[in-house]
Symmetry: C2
């Protein structure tokens, strides 16, 4: 068979000799086809759907898609694939943005859509255990009537497994943390076929290396998550959503910073630039003034939340913000936040046919206003169509340059824009990716951000996946 990845999986020096020649991949695929029957597919449409996802990076389909139903099945698949150095790429909802799910060397896309059980909910301990294919909305639907919720909310209705693998966050992170904070433990199948449970349900532990945090954000390159324990939170007594327009982007950023520094206890504080407001108005049928705007959410006792609103109004007023418009009815709140979550699709609507590069820098909050302002100047100078939206409470914001992929000059210009944006963020003590992950799209920036740390990452990858079968070509290049 033609196997574009045959070299890639041999570029490591394995710790022990191969069990079979790499050329046998066809036999592995045939074996999996026999074993999994209708849960194995090599149809081109399905393979392409699994080799691209929500990204501007070109499609690289896997050789086949397999739908496991248990950890034991994943173990068998890993063992079969290891024998012939066949890559394995864990697939959740397909909503990642940096080519995490592309199959540059072919192999198996492991689709977790048949592992969707909520295994247990421990209401007293405010935690639960789920299979990796459960999406965030499905989990919250399941928790309905428990008084508990799971807060991490990337824009898409991503799976919990994918969210853990990319160390995802979203609009609530400023108060409830990211997947780094909300994952209690993981069950993972390692490259050698062993099954590791990284921890128990205690809220803290000092028992050895933090394998939970090592796997969170490892993007399926160190182990394949087959179950997760996650923290839950009590629904607050009152939730108030609000919209606050500003005369300047800078004023909106500075208000966000002040609110964080005063520890107002905001659950969400999201910035939209005028172009993003325009996009949201069109896509979600809202009629907001098309000027810099903060979307906000306050959680607490009702009196406490109203007190926060009043304090926020004062801060905003000092920076040219207001009037603040707030809503308490669930349907009004949902409409606002669904509009925010749809901002990627709304942005695409500004330029039909275009693709989007979703940038993702995150800086210390004190540098946020500078970083946004300088970036906005860059957008204007480069004449890009590029709405801005961001989790400004964390210092994290996304610019969404819209690209005509048929114009190489434009593609290159957007790449240059992103390189400059990342250099700016790194110079401010920030990161090239606050929540999207590295995938293949951000690999070139990793050394700039981590220096010698990249060699440590490579050493870990080599130690845990000596044949480079787990999502090869992502995060760190081998050897």
């Amino acid at each position: 068979m033609t196997c574009p990845g045959a070299n890639a999986v041999n570029i490591l020096e394995p710790h022990d000799p191969p069990a079979a020649a790499p050329g046998d991949r066809a036999a592995t695929l045939a074996g999996l086809k026999t074993r999994f029957g209708a849960r194995y597919s090599d149809s081109l449409a399905l393979r392409e759907q699994h080799g691209h996802t929500t990204t501007w990076i070109p499609n690289q389909p896997p050789d086949a898609v397999v739908f496991p139903e248990s950890t034991a099945e994943v173990v068998d698949i890993v063992n079969a694939c290891r024998a012939t150095r066949t890559p394995i790429i864990a697939f959740g909802a397909g909503s990642s943005l940096e080519g995490h799910l592309n199959a540059p060397f072919g192999g198996i896309s492991l689709d977790f859509s048949r592992m969707k059980r909520v295994l247990e909910v421990n209401a007293e301990d405010m935690d639960c255990e789920v299979e990796p294919g459960v999406t965030r909305k499905e989990l919250n639907h399941h928790l309905h009537n428990t008084g508990l919720f799971f807060p991490v909310d990337p824009g898409a209705d991503a799976t919990l497994g994918g969210m853990a693998a990319t160390r995802a966050s979203g609009t609530n992170a400023v108060r409830y943390g990211t997947m780094r904070d909300c994952v209690l433990n993981l069950t993972a199948v390692m490259a050698d076929g062993s099954v590791v449970k990284t921890g128990g349900r205690a809220r803290k532990s000092s028992a050895g290396y933090d394998l939970t945090r090592l796997l969170v954000g490892s993007e399926g390159t160190l182990g394949i998550i087959t179950a997760l324990g996650v923290r839950l939170f009590g629904l607050p007594e009152a939730i108030l959503a609000a919209v606050c327009p500003f005369t300047t982007l800078d004023g909106a950023c500075r208000t966000a910073i002040a609110a964080i520094q005063l520890n107002l206890g905001l659950a969400r504080i999201e910035l939209l630039d005028p172009l993003q407001v325009k996009a949201v108005n069109a896509y979600s049928k809202l009629s907001l003034a098309e000027i810099p705007t903060l979307f906000l959410e306050f959680h607490g006792t009702r009196a406490g939340a109203l007190e926060q609103v009043e304090m926020f109004k004062e801060l905003a007023s000092a920076e040219g913000g207001g009037p603040l418009d707030w809503a308490e009815r669930p349907e009004d709140r949902s409409r606002l936040w669904q509009a925010r979550h749809d901002s990627y699709w709304a942005g695409l609507g500004l330029r039909p046919g275009a693709r989007a590069l979703a940038t993702d820098v995150c800086v210390p909050v004190s540098r946020l206003a500078d970083c946004v302002t300088e970036t906005y100047a860059d957008i204007e100078e480069m004449k890009l169509i590029a709405p801005i939206v961001g989790h400004v409470g964390d210092g994290n914001f996304h610019v969404l340059p819209l690209i005509d992929m048929s114009d190489p000059g434009e593609v290159r210009a957007v790449e240059v824009f992103n390189e400059r944006l990342i250099a700016r963020a790194l110079a401010m003590g920030g990161t090239c990716t606050g929540e999207h992950g590295v995938g293949s799209g951000k690999m070139k920036y990793l050394h700039k951000e981590h220096g010698a740390g990249v060699e440590v990452m490579k050493a870990i990858k080599r130690a845990l996946d000596p044949y480079n079968i787990l999502n090869p070509g992502k995060i760190v290049a081998m050897p």
Copy 2:
């Protein structure tokens, strides 16, 4: 020279051949002595002081103690030691409890007491960068008048480097998290002499493997921390400390659980059993009723904190607790919490001449009352002198059996007690160590807790420290 550890540092199969024969350790020591002069010592008294620390585990002194003053010096020491496979053990305040600082194979104790600078405080971003020898009290003293504080507070005035290395927590973790949550980034010298900065100052990042969290809790076995960025928090408007007696241990535990589940926002909730109250009364000259007691702290606006106190009173009353006695004056609060922090020494005072084994299990909060009650029954049945104190908001508690080390039967009985306690906690989904770490004392429990995960830990250790020179004989045994 006599070198008890000569074999131990050769038990690994290194990834590349040794640069020199292991027998040259004497040359390495002589070279360090010449280079560091008065900052190198091989006096027996100093070596013994560095080979034992706060633990019942017998003394194992290093060959020498070196006092570095910079990251560059640590690099030179690591390179010199690697050449002859000489162990290096990072040393902070010497307050760890599980033999972390023992030198079973000799080598160098790297004492960070000359690396005590607060490198920067970023008040706007609520973070700072410190050298590893800064203690938690020194940092908070430095932050005086900034309106900020660093919350993590193990009983001892430990160094930040040591606290990061053991993934320490303390009484504030229920609200502010542990070192896992509060460390933003680390600078570390790796076994190959490279210097890694694990991250920037952004509050979140998805840029590759989480090396910060991998090093936090690695107890100096994967890298040597030479600087840390840590999160700071705004001092609350009001702090109220309180003491609440209970008629039963069970009632105190159940009240703690209810307060956590109601998300009362307590900053501290600490349990003392009657024997611990007696010890604290004697050591700290208090006159508390010698019955089960919770020490509490409420942070918030003044109205908010008083509201919390009232809600807590109701919960306590339903479980046979009260009257609650609260204090707001800093000197009264400090006296109470210093008494709590001195509980280890107070406990030792119950049996002069005895040593203490500080147990450290942590369970899901819903199992806390069961775990404490069953453990209390075990103490009574085994007729141990063993006060109990715990961070019950996290499900973490310490029993302090006092041991006559000259009586082997008693030593064995206490070991059996701890084995049973740990088995009980693990059966409840808990951990053998909530905050003390593994060191050499808990190594035998690691496989019971982590199963196949221990092999993953070993693979990481082998990959990052192939000659096993960084704190050998701790966490995971090699090979």
